[in-house]
Every structure is written in C-alpha cells, then in structure tokens.
C-alpha cells in the first residue's frame, strides 16, 4: 500500500496502517534529530527516541484531525521536520523553565561575546509586540543605556538573563561585588525612570495586582 493509501486508512481509524506509517518514518525523524543534535550541540537532549515518538504521535493526530493532507513525499517529510522543530523547542523550553538560577545547564544564556554584542536599542527597534508594550521597552532600555558604564553593563546582562555569579567572570568582579553594583544600578535606574512616565504607563506589565 502506498503512503497516500496508508494515510487515508490511518485517518479512518486503521491501527495497522498507522503503525506501518509510524515505523516507516521513525528512522527519518531519528536521523534528522541525531544530525541536528550533533550539528547544534543539543547536549541537553538525550532521549531521541522519546522525542521521535512525540513527533510521530503529533503526526498521527494531525492526520486524523485532517490538519495534514498529503500532497507528496517531500511535503510529508517537511511536515515531520517542522513538527520535530516545535517538539524539540518545547522540550528545551520545559528544561529551561524547570531550572533555577543555580542549576546547570542555563540553556537560554548567550555566549559572552554574544552578550557583549547585544544592542538593547536595536532590539527595541526590531521588537515584536502585540500588547502595546513597545514604548515601555524603549524607555526602559534607554534608561539602562543612560547609566554610568559599569552600572549599565550589569543591568544589560541582567536583562539578558545572567545571574550575578554569571556576570562576575564577564565583568572581572566577584559575585558579591556584582550584587552590590547591581543594587546601586537599580537605584540609579529608578531615579532615571522617575523622570519619565514609565511607572504610570508600564507598571501594569510587571507589578502584580
């Protein structure tokens, strides 16, 4: 039976057809995962078979819900690649969220050279936002950039997700010194923002209640 016939049978509830399709495409998904893990250093992804199974389950669900309609082999493989991407990214997000500041690995962290090159102003200009927060983003980032250099840098790295113990080697200071610097920087930031409408216009986005 060809792929299209198997897909139609699976959509209509034929379990054997579903199993045949899943086993036919499992090696494809595993091989793509293995190649990408190697190329992208996904050291945090250790159970490729488990991810492949999740991808194939989503594929079966999509066929049964008619969210996937077969056109040709290339399109089917493309669908599997994209489903694999969403599954891997979700897995990474879950790992990241489950980790605290003191846990390793800190998957969301930029490399130091990337952090050094990160431009808050340019990011604000190119930000995506559907909640009307762009002006707030711009005001906050401009206030951070306006501070004295070391204080601006410690807040810039904090904005990029770095904890004091991770900022310490980047700035060549002890963790305690970074924490003290950050406290002073936050005081300066507060003073800078009080000259603007930031709290009035943007407080609802980060203050509870």
């Amino acid at each position: 039976m060809d792929v299209e016939a198997l897909l139609l049978a699976m959509r209509d509830g034929d379990e054997a057809a579903g199993s045949t399709l899943v086993e036919r495409y499992r090696p494809f998904v595993v091989a793509r995962l293995r190649g990408a893990k190697h190329a992208r250093n996904w050291f945090w992804l250790d159970d490729l078979d488990d991810v492949a199974q999740a991808v194939l389950v989503r594929f079966v669900e999509a066929v049964r819900a008619e969210r996937f309609r077969f056109r040709d082999e290339s399109q089917l493989r493309g669908f599997l690649v994209r489903t694999t991407f969403y599954t891997v990214m979700k897995r990474r997000d879950q790992i990241t969220e489950a980790l605290g500041e003191d846990d390793e690995p800190r998957l969301h962290l930029l490399a130091p050279e990337q952090a050094a090159a990160f431009d808050l102003g340019q990011f604000a200009d190119a930000a995506f936002d559907t909640l009307g927060r762009r002006q707030c983003l711009d005001e906050l980032y401009r206030a951070v950039d306006s501070l004295q250099e070391a204080r601006s840098e410690v807040l810039r790295l904090t904005l990029l997700g770095f904890a004091p113990r991770e900022i310490a080697p980047v700035m060549g200071r002890s963790t305690n010194a970074v924490s003290v610097l950050k406290t002073h920087a936050l005081e300066d930031l507060r003073a800078a923002l009080e000259k603007t409408e930031f709290m009035t216009n943007c407080g609802r986005y980060f203050l509870g209640g």
């Binding site: 091989a31 995506f128 927060r133 923002l193």
Partner: protein
C-alpha cells in the same frame, strides 16, 4: 518604585524571555518564505539583532538538512586507510576500520533516514580504487538514486534496488555522494576526500 518592582520589570522586558520575539510558528513561516512581504522584512530585521531567534532558526535549518557524513580516505600501498570521519555521532565503525589500519576496504555504517547506510570503499588492485556503495535497508521508499559529484559536477548516478552501486576507478579528489529516493529529496550526503598517500601524510 521599589527595587523589587524594577527587578520584575527587567524580567518581563528581558529579551531572553522571548516576549518580544516572533512566535516559533512565525519563524517557521519565515523559513518557508510564506509570510507577507512586510512580515518577511520585520522578521529579517528582528533576526539581525536577536541571537535567540537566530539560534532557533539555525536549529530548524539543522533539522531540515539531511545528515552530512564526512570521511577522508587515503590511498595506501595495498589498500585504503580511513584518516578521519564525522561518524562518531552516527555510526558504529567496523573494528578494523576503528583501529585505522590500512586494509583492503574501509567500511562505514551509519543510521540513514530510511534505515541503515552501509558504505564500503573498496580498492581494486588492478586500477584506481573503485567506490563500492552498499545500501543496507535504505530502500523503504523503494529504489534509491545514488549520485557521485566532484566539484559540484555530477560524475555518475545510479538507481539501486538496495544492494550495491559501483563507481569504477575513482581518482583522488573531493567527492560528494548523495542518496535520494526516486523523485524524492536527499536522505543522506557523504562528503568524501580520497587522497594520495603522500598528500595525506
């Protein structure tokens, strides 16, 4: 305004939280070039300044790229010798090859997208080395086209039913071997460099 409130602001407005990035669905649409012209331009501008989204796009690109396997094989007196390979993450090498000893054949086995890919590079003592490609269980999609390129120029292409393809008298040089189901996309590429004994030593 208390410092704790400001710390919350730094968290909410952190680029690392991805709250100001395109969705993953939008990134995939950008990859597929199916966004509007404005959407493509806005995403391109964002990618230029956002290493987080750039990394996601590189992850997607890696998944969309057939595995590239690389091997450097040296022609030596009486046989072939595997000098280097990228098969660590992919393959179990045969014991003789894993020791790197000169032998009459170099064998590489790896998981391919449709099963297992078995490559045997075989020296023909009477001529230049033949490249003998054995395809084990690569053919769940039916017949496979095996193509050999040199400097992006196609040298030969064969259809196989899943047994063996022979490229005769392959001279030293850089080659690319591709495997694809008939009328389908590539399922594997192997970058291959065959060197003279003196060139590689």
């Amino acid at each position: 305004m208390r410092a704790r409130g400001l710390e919350a602001a730094l968290t909410v407005f952190s680029p690392a939280r991805r709250g100001f990035c395109p969705s993953r669905e939008d990134l995939v649409s950008y990859f597929d070039a199916v966004l509007t012209a404005e959407g493509m331009a806005a995403t391109r501008a964002h990618l230029a300044v956002c290493p987080f989204c750039t990394a996601d796009l590189e992850d997607l690109t890696a998944l969309a790229t057939p595995p590239l396997l690389e091997a450097v094989v040296q022609i030596v007196r009486g046989g072939l010798k595997l000098l280097s390979h990228s098969f660590e993450a992919h393959a179990a090498l045969t014991p003789a090859t894993a020791r790197g000893a000169a032998s009459a054949a170099v064998e590489l086995t790896t998981a391919a997208e449709d099963g297992e890919l078995h490559l045997r590079l075989h020296r023909n003592p009477a001529a230049s080395p033949d490249l003998r490609v054995q395809l084990a269980a690569v053919t769940s999609q039916g017949r496979v086209r095996v193509s050999l390129y040199r400097s992006d120029a196609l040298l030969e292409s064969h259809l196989s039913d899943g047994d063996e393809v022979l490229f005769a008298a392959v001279e030293p040089g850089d080659y690319r071997l591709t495997l694809a189901p008939v009328d389908g996309d590539e399922v594997a590429r192997v970058a291959l460099r065959i060197e003279d004994e003196t060139a590689g030593s």
